[in-house]
């Protein structure tokens, strides 16, 4: 994420009075307001900023639980979700988050947009920019695409998953889910089992959980980690993932952990020669009751979905007592509400200059 230094005027022009009003709105919604313009990854957030976002998501969860799930917090704001990759849960999650907050949410999918007509990403973004939108929620198959977009739009950009790079809102909802069960994450152990090489969820979660003080261990076939990583080692700080443990095998990774996270394994990995077969993967890395028994009592089982039941996770544990998979989905809406509110709440608009924002903040 980047600070809003490029939107001269937004912060300064609102002034003290406006800031006060914003704070009032914030406290009504129980939301903290770090001065952010974009959410591109979690690597440039401090633990305190992440905690603020999670705290605000607690308030959002309460709103979701109401009979009338609607607040005017983002009334008059336009949020576009722009998905260049298939996704149901993440897109719907953002859409619901925006709608509960009162924003107008427009969904653009690559197949339905001009992208399929050969228009460049730059021109697509400029076209949307011309329509005065407040936030762009982007999923793109290319790593770094949201960074590129953030350089060419005044709207807040939220990374909803870019290539194999990052998926920050998934990590926030995972942190939120774990925190709601175990409290402080300091010293807690989490094992991530799956396709680390191609997984943006793994990358973002390693950074996120380490930032919050947890110890992260990964396990997967050696063909699914970068060549410069070695099994049975701990990464140094020069890697950008310092302290990450690479287990020799899955049992070692899961042993005495507080959280086990299974990642989706895709048929393409078998086809590209990373795996002999999904059957062998399931046998050697699949999470089942026997393996869950190695974890601490009451350990949580997570999966970012969609699950291949019977491959990376057995149906028995996927729907068992330790599974928090459905909680993750519910929490995803709350966390995305917190993100959208933080980035485009009244008074913090990245689109309008100060005056208009004040009027909206009072409305």
């Amino acid at each position: 994420m980047t600070n809003p230094t490029t939107t001269a005027g937004n912060g300064a022009a609102t002034g003290a009075k406006s800031d006060h009003e914003v704070a009032q709105v914030a406290s009504q919604e129980n939301v903290a307001l770090p001065p952010r313009k974009h959410l591109l990854d979690l690597d440039d957030l401090t633990a305190a900023e992440i905690t603020d976002l999670l705290d605000s998501a607690e308030g959002m969860l309460e709103i979701i639980g109401r009979d009338v799930r609607k607040t005017p917090a983002l009334r008059g704001k336009t949020i576009i979700t722009m998905f260049f990759e298939n996704s149901t849960r993440t897109r719907v999650s953002f859409e619901q988050a925006g709608k509960i907050l009162g924003a107008d949410v427009i969904n653009v999918t690559a197949s339905a947009s001009s992208v399929s007509k050969g228009e460049s990403l730059l021109n697509t973004v400029k076209t949307l920019q011309a329509m005065q939108i407040d936030a762009l929620v982007v999923r793109h198959p290319h790593s770094g695409a949201p960074y590129f977009i953030s350089n060419h739009t005044d709207a807040s950009v939220v990374n909803a998953g870019d290539g194999t790079h990052a998926h920050p809102t998934q990590s926030l909802l995972d942190l939120f889910t774990v925190r709601s069960h175990v409290g402080d994450l300091t010293g807690k152990k989490i094992a991530i089992v799956g396709d680390v090489l191609y997984s943006r969820v793994a990358r973002s979660n390693i950074i996120a959980f380490q930032k919050m003080g947890a110890e992260v261990t990964v396990s997967c076939p050696n063909t699914l980690i970068p060549d410069e990583w070695q099994l049975d080692s701990t990464l140094g700080s020069e890697t950008g993932f310092g302290g990450l443990k690479l287990a020799r095998n899955v049992d070692e990774a899961i042993d005495s952990t507080d959280v086990v996270m299974a990642l989706r394994i895709q048929q393409e990995r078998q086809d590209a020669g990373h795996l002999p077969s999904l059957r062998e993967y399931s046998d050697r890395w699949g999470i089942n009751a026997q393996r869950m028994a190695l974890a601490n009592d009451g350990a949580l089982l997570m999966h970012p979905g969609p699950m291949n039941e019977g491959v990376e996770i057995s149906s028995e544990v996927a729907h068992g007592a330790q599974s928090v998979v459905e909680e993750q989905v519910r929490n995803g809406v709350a966390v995305r509400m917190a993100v959208l509110y933080t980035l485009c709440a009244p008074g913090k608009s990245t689109r309008l200059a100060g005056g208009g924002d004040e009027a909206q903040a009072q409305a």
């Binding site: 974009h38 990403l121 730059l122 793109h140 790079h165 890697t239």
Partner: protein, 459 residues
């Protein structure tokens, strides 16, 4: 122009072929070098046009074995006109045009068209490179004999490595009779399939698919063995990995007929530049990351690889510097990293960027100039790259103390795709003379040419 007599006086002349490194005057008449004379204030050059080069380095005009002029076919990126002017801006008086044009330079007709238009519209010498295979498809040998007769100086399928080892073997073998080198982009495309930058910590951090160094090394090793088998001439373009250097050293020791080039960017930039902070490693990935102007093939390698190629160039294991000047339009670079085209715009920054290594005492100025002049001329087997009497009057004059900031908008090239935008470099080509005519002079307005230059374009 024929009557023009030129005296370049008072400069430090470095001509590795003649073993000259001292202050002498260079005399040119009728487009040819007529000799060098000891500098003296007593020298009277009454009927000469005199260029005062005191405080400057006077070098034979640079020779680039690896240039993409994009003409015919992609004239929005570069043309023979703009590309040869970019060459002149960089001190290059000879450029070898890669055949990945549209149509491909795989027939005499296309090659002759390029040569004819280069002679008419170019401001420096253009020597074409022919394709190895028809259409650069790697299936059937191009008419290499016909191409050689048309004037190509070697054969390359450029960015398309000859994947079929037997076709490579036949190309090498067939070329022996022609006496021309096979220039094969060494990359096993399967090893790093889908990769867009060098594999390693930076790629992992950015979530970009990485190409391991071994994708190059493996094919370099294969090609060296095939060159040994066929006793043909092999030239390895843009060598960039430690492993390739190990294989190259071993092959040279065994007498394989091989030469190798390295680019200015592989000598000076590493994969950390992809973070977009001119080589600094950020604590967090910022919006400047994924700098598409760093996307090039072979990819920018690790620090260790960069140190190794510098040392190899310095000691002569790597024979020459070649630019792999690869201009691309803005639309090819203002996009995601995955979508971006490979290639860096190099001609106009080549000398200065590598001169930084001279300033850092990693390579001598003599070796640098040799690798831009005598070295490539020897591979071409032509009377170029020296200030010997009778050679073409091709000269680059360099101000070694000049500090300048790279502004691609000042490029003569049509394209601006350089990661060096805003970077301060030391050492600058200030004048370029081709066949006795001044084709670039920094003292004129930057990025423009004097009337005399344009008039000289017709030769």
């Amino acid at each position: 122009m024929a009557a023009r007599k030129l005296a370049i006086i008072g400069g430090r002349v470095i001509d590795p072929v003649q073993g000259i490194d001292r202050v002498v005057d260079v005399l040119i008449s009728n487009g040819k070098i007529t000799g060098v004379a000891s500098s003296s204030s007593d020298n009277a050059y009454d009927d000469y046009e005199v260029i005062d080069a005191s405080g400057k380095i006077v070098s034979p005009g640079f020779v680039d074995l690896h240039t993409h002029l994009r003409d015919p076919g992609q004239e929005w990126k570069e043309t023979i006109v703009s590309g040869t002017r970019a060459a002149a801006h960089g001190g290059f008086t000879t450029v070898c045009a890669m055949p990945n044009t549209d149509p491909v330079q795989d027939s005499a007709a296309v090659v002759e068209d390029v040569m004819r238009r280069a002679a008419a519209d170019g401001v420096v010498r253009v020597l074409p490179i022919g394709a190895i295979s028809v259409g650069q498809h790697g299936k059937q040998l191009a008419p290499m004999g016909e191409l050689a007769e048309a004037g190509v100086i070697g054969f390359s399928d450029d960015g398309n490595p000859v994947a079929d080892a037997n076709l490579m073997r036949q190309a090498l073998k067939y070329s022996v009779e022609l006496g021309l080198p096979i220039i094969n982009h060494a990359e096993d495309k399967k090893i790093g399939a889908g990769g867009v930058m060098s594999a390693g910590l930076v790629a992992t951090r950015l979530g970009l698919a990485g190409v391991p160094a071994e994708a190059e090394t493996a094919m370099v090793a294969r090609d060296l063995h095939l060159a040994d088998l066929t006793k043909a001439r092999l030239h390895i373009p843009h060598i960039s990995t430690i492993g390739s250097l190990v294989a190259l050293r071993s092959a040279k020791e065994c007498g394989v007929n091989v030469t190798a080039e390295v680019t200015p960017h592989h000598l000076t930039l590493n994969d950390e530049w992809v973070f977009g902070l001119k080589g600094e490693i950020p604590a967090q990935v910022g919006s400047e990351a994924y700098d598409t102007n760093t996307k090039v093939n072979p990819p920018l390698r690790s620090r260790a690889d960069v140190e190794a190629v510098i040392e190899a160039l310095s000691e002569g294991l790597i024979d020459i510097i070649a630019t792999d000047h690869a201009p691309h339009a803005a639309t090819d670079k203002v996009c995601t990293y995955d979508e971006a085209a490979h290639g860096i715009n190099v001609l106009e920054t080549a000398f200065a960027s590598v001169f930084g290594l001279v300033d850092a005492s990693k390579i001598s100025i003599e070796r640098l100039i040799e690798s831009l002049t005598a070295g490539p001329a020897a591979i071409l087997g032509r009377d170029l790259g020296s200030l010997k009497k009778g050679f073409s009057g091709d000269v680059a004059i360099i101000d070694p103390g000049s500090k300048w900031v790279v502004d691609p908008n000042e490029f003569a090239s049509k394209s601006v795709n350089t990661p060096l935008r805003g970077v301060e470099l030391t050492g600058r080509v200030v004048t370029t003379i081709y066949q006795g005519e001044t084709v670039f002079d920094l003292r004129g307005a930057i990025g423009t040419f004097s009337e005399g230059v344009k008039a000289g374009a017709g030769q």
